[in-house]
């Protein structure tokens, strides 16, 4: 079991996450061209070299602010179940909107791969994507694939492999907010850090506390509450 790693697939609805999931795992999860197809977590395995990747297909969401229960399912998985790698699947033809979710994931966890799907469609529409610039700006690997045509899979699997072995170290570049917000984060973050240690990103939890995310608060209380009381 030492060679088994959990890889979560996150992304906006309708970006081909389930298609990627099926193609990689050989499973036949039903896919559809509409928002909300995947509402619960589907799992499947991929064998790569000497390792087993356990893929988890998270519900497709536009954000991870826990507005609805599918957003919560996805968010909780990334933050509390701590997959070894989180792959964020983006639609190459509407990246501007899709990046929003990717940036949120970068705040939540370290080992992230940005996987730009539907690259074949994008090329037809004359969209050319420079993944090196994006990798540079985001601090995590950016990979172009076409899940329908099974293009770019070796690169994706190899990158997952190199992240779990430590050959690549992800250093997600955090979004810098307006000074006003950054000041508030600075006030809260050390205290959060003291309280939760390195269980989660203290910066992200601070942001959520400032945002008034009560659902997250309850979740933290439920999951870590007992331990606190015991101490």
């Amino acid at each position: 079991m030492g060679n088994s790693y959990r890889v979560a697939l996150a992304g906006n609805p309708n970006t081909g996450k389930s298609t990627l999931f099926n193609a990689l795992t050989g499973l036949r999860q039903h896919t559809g061209n509409w928002a909300g197809k995947t509402v619960s977590l589907a799992q499947g395995n991929v064998q790569y070299k000497d390792k087993m990747f356990n893929l988890i297909d998270l519900p497709g969401t536009y954000s991870l602010f826990s507005n609805s229960s599918d957003e919560e399912v996805a968010r909780n998985y990334i933050v509390f179940e701590k997959p070894d790698v989180t792959v964020v699947v983006l639609d190459a033809t509407s990246l501007e909107r899709n990046f929003n979710l990717a940036l949120q994931v970068l705040e939540m966890t370290k080992n992230v791969i940005i996987c730009i799907n539907l690259i074949d469609v994008a090329e037809q529409q004359g969209i050319s994507i420079n993944e090196r610039i994006l990798t540079n700006r985001l601090g995590v690997p950016v990979i172009k694939i076409s899940a329908r045509n099974k293009k770019g899979f070796p690169m994706l699997l190899d990158t997952i492999d190199r992240i779990v072995t430590g050959a690549i170290e992800c250093q997600p570049v955090q979004t810098t907010y307006a000074d006003e917000i950054e000041d508030k984060i600075k006030k809260i973050e050390p205290k959060v850090s003291e309280l939760i240690g390195n269980q989660m990103s203290a910066r992200w939890v601070s942001l959520r506390l400032l945002d008034g995310d009560e659902k997250l608060l309850n979740e933290i209380n439920q999951r870590y509450g007992q331990k606190e009381r015991a101490e």
């Binding site: 609805p13 309708n14 036949r28 039903h30 896919t31 559809g32 061209n33 509409w34 928002a35 909300g36 509402v39 619960s40 536009y62 507005n67 609805s68 229960s69 599918d70 399912v73 033809t93 990246l95 501007e96 909107r97 990046f99 940036l103 469609v121 529409q125 004359g126 969209i127 050319s128 994507i129 420079n130 993944e131 610039i133 994006l134 700006r137 985001l138 329908r148 979004t175 810098t176 907010y177 307006a178 917000i181 508030k184 809260i188 205290k191 959060v192 003291e194 309280l195 939760i196 601070s206 942001l207 506390l209 400032l210 945002d211 008034g212 608060l217 933290i220 209380n221 870590y224 606190e228």
Partner: protein, 457 residues
């Protein structure tokens, strides 16, 4: 310091527009990333999608197109399933002769033959020959529409109607899921953000017929509603009746949503953005194979798993006598007066009660009940089938009432279980059972009493 105290402290620091600022800055960064890392070489916009959307979501053509799509879908299912259905029935019928011969050969006791062949074998093969062909056509066709990207357009068209009754536009998506399976659709309501509107979607989901009920609806519609037509016209009339039944289900969905949003679930519908994805040519072969094999197969396995024990149970009930009446007949006679009031009978009520675990088995159980031996006779053709119904006093009114009862009645066991898991509330789960049941009783009652009052039958 606890996390709770930290939260309070953070809230004192926070401002009302903090979330907006965060989101705005995320979008600004997305925009910067795109302008740095992406080049648009040709300014070719996706005009095809726009042109198609102008037709599919047009205020004039939107609804007629939707209705005709629905009609075509059902017509293909009904007309296409006829022949394979009767072929399967014949095949299983001839296999049965060999089975019976085998049981005679090994001198098995009568009851073993009864339970295994007349109960189990007939029950399950009946389900297979009635259910499999329609599913093998319906699922892939529906999946093609889905993968092409038509479903979000349906949601777009229906949005206004759902808003008007106080529900959420995404409810049309979960409703569409219900055509496949209500139990799965209840889980899919997670896409609806507001708990109030999500509850509306859950409570009204079973008013669209799931595949477990298609079999019943199609058989009854073609036997009784289209009886005077032949050939292609027969399938067309059957389709018309089915579309009508589905429309009625949708109207009830709206009505119940409206009543609930004015009473128990008061509120104003929340806003949401619905993404209309570009139309994408589906991988036709993959989609057809995946949905017809995998999806039909899994649904069918469930049907058989539930049908098998139910068939055995029904056979046993029909063959254990207390005095000179079987247990089954006691129940039937008890339910009969109530059933008659609704234009149904005791057998039908019995079948729906025993069919709680799965709607697929209602019709097989009913047939088993009707045959005095308590097992299905060899129903080689639909004509034999109709004779059985006619012998038990069926008219078009009985068929219509049974179709309506099937459409409107309580969700199956699996769906109720999922409703409980999703709402975590016994009260709402009970309401999800009660509301449809009351409606399923009232509608046939009113129809039957009206028809009788005016002496139309």
């Amino acid at each position: 310091m606890s996390i709770q105290q930290l939260y309070t402290e953070a809230q004192q620091l926070s401002t009302a527009k903090l979330r907006d600022d965060i989101v705005q800055q995320l979008y600004e960064r997305s925009h910067r990333l795109c302008s740095e890392g992406i080049k648009y070489t040709k300014s070719k916009r996706d005009t095809r999608t726009e042109k198609l959307d102008a037709i599919f979501t047009s205020p004039i053509f939107g609804f007629p197109i939707m209705l005709s799509m629905l009609g075509v879908l059902f017509y293909l299912t009904i007309a296409g399933a006829n022949i394979p259905s009767s072929m399967l029935a014949e095949f299983f019928g001839s296999m049965e002769k060999y089975l019976t011969a085998f049981f005679t050969f090994i001198k098995a006791p009568d009851w073993v033959h009864g339970v295994l062949v007349l109960g189990l074998y007939r029950g399950t093969t009946w389900v297979i020959s009635v259910m499999l062909p329609p599913m093998a056509i319906f699922f892939p066709t529906f999946a093609l529409l889905e993968n092409y990207g038509y479903l979000p357009r349906v949601a777009f068209n229906m949005d206004r109607l759902f808003k008007r009754v106080g529900a959420h536009g995404k409810q049309s998506l979960t409703m569409a899921m219900g055509f496949g399976c209500n139990a799965a659709a209840v889980i899919s309501t997670r896409i609806i953000e507001s708990p109030r509107e999500r509850m509306l979607a859950i409570l009204t989901n079973n008013f669209v017929p799931c595949n477990g009920r298609w079999g019943t609806l199609i058989v009854l519609a073609s036997l009784f509603m289209a009886a005077n037509f032949t050939g292609g016209l027969k399938s067309l009339v059957t389709t018309g009746v089915i579309v009508g039944i589905v429309m009625f289900g949708i109207i009830v969905t709206f009505f119940v949503s409206w009543v609930l949003s004015k009473t128990a679930l008061k509120g104003i519908p929340t806003h949401y953005t619905l993404e209309l994805p570009p139309y994408r040519k589906p991988k036709i072969f993959d989609t057809v194979v995946r949905s017809s094999l995998t999806r039909s197969w899994s649904v069918l396995m469930r049907a058989v798993k539930v049908a098998a024990p139910a068939a055995i149970l029904t056979w046993v009930f029909a063959n254990i006598f207390i005095g000179d009446t079987s247990i089954l007949m006691y129940a039937v006679e008890f339910l009969d007066p109530f059933g008659k009031l609704l234009g149904l009978d005791g057998y039908i009520m019995m079948a729906f009660i025993l069919g709680l675990p799965a709607n697929e088995i209602v019709l097989p159980i009913l047939l088993m009940g009707y045959l005095s031996t308590g097992s299905l006779t060899e129903v080689d053709s639909l004509v034999d089938l109709k004779q059985i119904f006619l012998d038990h006093g069926w008219t078009w009114l009985t068929a219509l009432n049974m179709m309506l009862f099937s459409l409107l009645h309580y969700p199956c066991g699996t769906t109720l279980l999922n409703i409980y898991k999703e709402t975590k509330s016994k009260k709402w789960t009970f309401l999800a059972f009660l509301i449809p049941t009351v409606i399923a009783i009232l509608v046939p009652l009113i129809i039957t009493q009206t028809v009788r009052f005016f002496g139309w039958l």
